[in-house]
Structures are given as structure tokens and as C-alpha cells.
């Protein structure tokens, strides 16, 4: 099979959100001697861009978006052993997590998918994350943006704690902070000194792109 056909299959199965088939065809692409970066850029990325276009046009929904990203991840995993020493290109780095005392994660996970499909490298700290850990990991991964999620009215004050810690560490001007969660609003973001409030996942990705100068 010619290389173009293999890449077209990968694009198609990322677009259709089928992790098993993307993994299978990535193996075939490797066996056919395709370069890992070519498989990503000419196969998978094309597919995920189509997913994004269809989502924006209104005929793809969140599950399509998430399955598209999962399909791409399945292919990337196959390529990982070959990617050592090769730098993938990202438009920026984002650290994200749900604050201490809060176990709610679905909103955060949607934001992660949106960011990944927008071209960001995302580090997910998970749920119930101690405030200190946001700071330590932000340093370690040298991120551009920190995303802080909180759903409970009793845990939203952790967002302020993290921002205060950033300031105390002298890092406040080095990273931008985006906050989100059901009880959050712009007034709260202003009050605690967050750089932005994202009312939904699309907005989070749009704001993140603007922050790194990638346009909306």
C-alpha cells in the first residue's frame, strides 16, 4: 500500500474517533517505513483538525471531539518509542487540575481535550490537588498557563490560595492563570487576581490560544 493511502486511513480514523483502528494503522505506517513526525503531521493532525472544524461547524459534538483526541493519543502511544529525541511542536504548555478537597473532574477533562485539539501540551494534575503542587509542577514543566478548576462553593477559595502562592514564589508574572467551575464568575476572577475566567471549555481554549499569541 502506498504511503499516502496509509496516512489517509490514519486521518480518516482519527476523524471518526476510532482509537483501535488508529493504533492498528499507525503500526502499519511504522512497518511501511514512514517517519514518526510525518505520521503525526500528515496523518493524525489532519484528522484532528477536521474534527475541530466539524465541531466548530456544529455537526460534531463533545463525544466526537473527545473520541477524536483519544484516537490520536492511541496513535501517538504507538509512536512514543520512536519519538525519543524528536521534539513535537506545541503552541504552549498548560498545567491543569482540580483544587484540594474537590473531586469533580469532568469539566476539567473537557477543557484538557479542547486544549489538546488546539495544539497545547497539557499536564493534568488530576483532582484533589494540594495548592503547593500547582506551584511545584508549574516550575518543573515550565508552563505558560495554569488552569484551576473548582466546583464546590467551599473549595473555590483554593483558587485564590494558589494565585497568592504564585505571587509569594515570585512566579506571578511568568504564568497566566485561568480559572473555571460552576460557581465561578468574572467578579471572582477579578477579586482573586486571576488572568481570566473561562465560562466553558471552548472559551478556555480560545483564551489559552490568545495568551500564547496563537490567535483565537
Amino acid at each position: 500500500m502506498v504511503k499516502e493511502e496509509v496516512l489517509a486511513k490514519i486521518t480518516q480514523y482519527v476523524f471518526e474517533g476510532d482509537p483501535e483502528l488508529v493504533a492498528e494503522w499507525t503500526d502499519k505506517a511504522i512497518a511501511a517505513g514512514l517517519e514518526p513526525l510525518a505520521i503525526i503531521n500528515e496523518g493524525m493532525t489532519k484528522g484532528i483538525e477536521m474534527v475541530g472544524e466539524h465541531f466548530a461547524a456544529g455537526d460534531y459534538y463533545l463525544p466526537d471531539l473527545i473520541l477524536g483526541a483519544k484516537a490520536m493519543d492511541a496513535g501517538i502511544q504507538k509512536l512514543e518509542p520512536l519519538l525519543a529525541g524528536i521534539n513535537r511542536e506545541f503552541i504552549g504548555r498548560v498545567l491543569i487540575g482540580t483544587v484540594a478537597g474537590d473531586l469533580h473532574e469532568i469539566g476539567k477533562n473537557i477543557v484538557i481535550m479542547m486544549l489538546k485539539t488546539s495544539g497545547f501540551e497539557v499536564f493534568d494534575l488530576g483532582i484533589d490537588v494540594p495548592s503547593r503542587q500547582f506551584i511545584d509542577k508549574a516550575k518543573e514543566y515550565k508552563v505558560d498557563i495554569i488552569g484551576i478548576s473548582a466546583l464546590l462553593t467551599t473549595t473555590v477559595s483554593r483558587q485564590k490560595e494558589i494565585i497568592d502562592l504564585l505571587a509569594a514564589e515570585g512566579m506571578r508574572d511568568k504564568v497566566k492563570v485561568i480559572i473555571g467551575g460552576a460557581p465561578i464568575n468574572q467578579a471572582w476572577a477579578d477579586k482573586i487576581g486571576a488572568d481570566a475566567y473561562a465560562p466553558d471549555a471552548s472559551a478556555a481554549a480560545t483564551i489559552a490560544r490568545r495568551i500564547v499569541g496563537a490567535g483565537a
Binding site: G58, Y61, L62, P63, G101, L103, H104, I106, G107, I110, L152, T153, T154, S157, A182, P183, N185, A187, D200, A201, S202
Partner: protein, 477 residues
Amino acid sequence: MGFDYLSSEQVQKIHEASLEILKKIGIGNRSKRMRDLLLDNGCKEKGDRILFTQDVIDKGLKTVPKSFQLYGRRDNYTLDIGAKKSYCQTVVGCPSVMDLETNRRRDCLVQDLADMTRLADALDYIHIVSPLFPRDVPQEIILTMETAILLKSTSKPLSICVESPAELKYIIELLAAVAGGRVALRQKPLATMPISTISPLEFGLHPADALIDIVEAGIPLGVEPAPQAGATAPISMAGLVAMHNAEMLAGAVAAQLVRPGAPLTLSSRAGFMDMRSGQGLWGMPEFGLAAAAMNQMGNFYQMPVAPGAFSGESKTADAQSAMEHMHNALAPALAGSDILGSAGSVDSVQAACYKMLVLDNEISSVIQKSIKSPLVDEDSLAVDAIAEIIEQKGDFLGHKHTRKYMRSGALWTPSLIARQTYEQWEAHGKALEEIAAERAKELLATHAVLPLADGLEKEFDAIIAAAKRELMPSDAE
């Protein structure tokens, strides 16, 4: 009037699926106390999850009371929870409110909590009051402050959602002060206390510990997870109800293991995710249908049910919210409900709204009429009256039968809905939400709440001061 959204065969199938979920998938948990309780009673541990056995489930389900009474601090205000009376309860936990003057959303303040509570006190078809979450109080003692304000601002029964056990001691002290001691509070509880475990199938730490403490204190518990179909629960109605039912049964069983016979409600809150924006919706019609289905499950177990109900997507009181709240409340009411929650909410319970509370009071009044079957006996069948009127070539208007039944409530009497001639409407007609706003303002200007007994305010102050000392030590002088 009744509504079977599920057939009895479907109820049985869902019940079996829920048990399979509890036995095979089990529940996540981060509380050592809860873990000990469940394992000591025969549950099994598998990795980080706790699996229920048929024996534990049977033991737990057997002792849940079919009914209990809930009391207001005013005389004779007693609610029969378990009698399927569809009592209306206000929304809990909104950090924002729609301003009554500007109709714009802003932060909820202590004054809003007091006003919204007093408005609920004034409205006849609001039966139970839950707190808003004001932002201008120290968050460490927010529930203590809320409980004190609720008790001052209404004499109706309360429902206080507890996110963690930290403040429970002080909440109970406040309630006991009003009830006349802890024993009196147990005998005549002034509040239910719902806890919101995490979907899917996770007790967490704080909700699990709060569950145990509430049951030990003898306060009626609400088991209130809030799954989102399509995100934290299956999107198919059958799967959603099976999983939601399983997580509520897990809570109910745990409560019975703490104290057999502990009163509780299954308080379903099954929303769904907007598949484009990712927003959590408590919208029409799925929210009301899931609540109806969950009520059928609870009624199958003969346990009191208290679903979220008066909810919708509209951002304010308008035609959309009226339509949404009516559907989402009437569907579970007709399926048999003890309490219908979320009154006075807008935007999928993200904000509270004075006007909406007045509209929900009207909807609640219609529901009270609609859930009751009509009287059918010889007199109400009116054969004799019909014969008499036809023979005399008279009309029903001038017959005693009409007067008698009119006086006993044959016709629903609106308090907001306009019934006027076209000419009157053309001259003076107003939008329903405008009438609701005027009613809210009028009631807030005139309604006086039954005052607290002498000396109670001082006791409240002492309890709040003690809560501050323990929970806000850095603020101590």
C-alpha cells in the same frame, strides 16, 4: 393522578441492574470511617472500591423508614414525608442571585439569604427552605451562619446541604437551641440534611464522613448525588437511572448500617451535559423524566423521595423558565414525590431568583391540586343535582351543589395567573414575571416572620462565636 414513566417490569430490570452495579462495580470511598463501617458489615474490598453483597443490601434496605415527620418552629407545621405530598423546597447552594431591581446576576449576599428565606416563609406553597450561599460571610463558617439566618427568617422546616462534617456540630447546636435540646430535635427534626456524594459511584471523604455524622446525630439524611448523563453517568435513560439508583441505595444502606431505622430521603438530581458546550443542564424534559423514573424506583423500595424539580435552563423568570419548571416538577410529582426541590432557581440551579420563587409557588399550588384524585361518590357524581336542574329547566350556577363544591375547592384559585377579559388585559395587562416581581416586592415589604423565642438570638451569637474560634483560629484576637 398518577404517571408511570416506567412499567413495573422496567422498574424490576433497573432494580436488578442497580444491584449488579453495587455488587460488581461497587462504590469509591476515601473515608476510613466509612470503609470500616462497610467492611465490618460484610462488604468486600476490591482494589480501591468497596463491593456490596446481597446480604448487606438486604439488611440495609429492610430498615429504611417508609415515612417520618419534619417540623417547622411554628406550631402545628408538620410535614408527612413518605405520604407523597409533593412538598416544595427551595433551591440550595446558589452563590449568585438575580437582582430583583436590575434583573441582572450578582453575588449572593447575606441580605439575599435573609430576604429569599423570608419570601419563602411568606409563600403558602413553599414548604421547606434551603439556604443560598452568600459570599460576604467567612466561608469557614458559612453553614453555621446560614443556619442561624434561616432559623431567624422562617418558621418553616429547613433543608441544609452539608458538604463536609466540619461545621455540623454548630449547625446541630443551633437547631437544638430552637427545638429545646438535642433529644427534642431528634424527636421533632427541624431540618433534613442532604449530602452530595460524587458521581459516578463515589462517596469521597467529606460526604462520607458527613453522612455518618448526620445519621449519628439523628437528623433525617438526604442522599443526593448529582450525576450528569453523558458525562458522569450513562446518557441512556435506563443506564442513568440504574447507576443513579445504585449510588443512592449505597448511601441509604450505609446510613442504615450506622443506625438502623435512620430516616432518609432518596434525593435524585440527574442532569445531563450539553453535548456542545459541556455545561451541566437541569433542563426540560430529561431532568423531569429522570426524576419521575427515580421516584418510581424509590417508591418501589417504599423509601421517601425528594428529587430536584423546579429547574431549567432559562437565565431568569420568563416564559421559558415557567415552562421548564412546570414540566420538571409536575413529572416527578405525578410519579409520586415527597419533596420537590430547587424552587426559586434559574440557569440549572446556578443562580437564585426572587421572581422565580414566586412563580414556583404558583406552580407548586397547581401541583398540589393535580396530584390529588378527585372525590368520586354519590354526592359528587351529582346525578340528583343534574336531574333536578334539568327538570326545573334551571342552571348549575344557581344550585346549592355548585356552591357547596366551589367552597370546598372544586376550582383551583390562582394567585398570579391572570384571568380577565381582553379589554382589561389590553388596558392593564402585565407579563407574568412583572406580576411576580411586584408580588415579591410587596411580600418583602410587608411579611413579618414569627420571631425567635426570647434569648435565642443571644444563644445563636454564642454558637457562632464558638464556631469562629474553632474554625477560624487565625482570626482570633
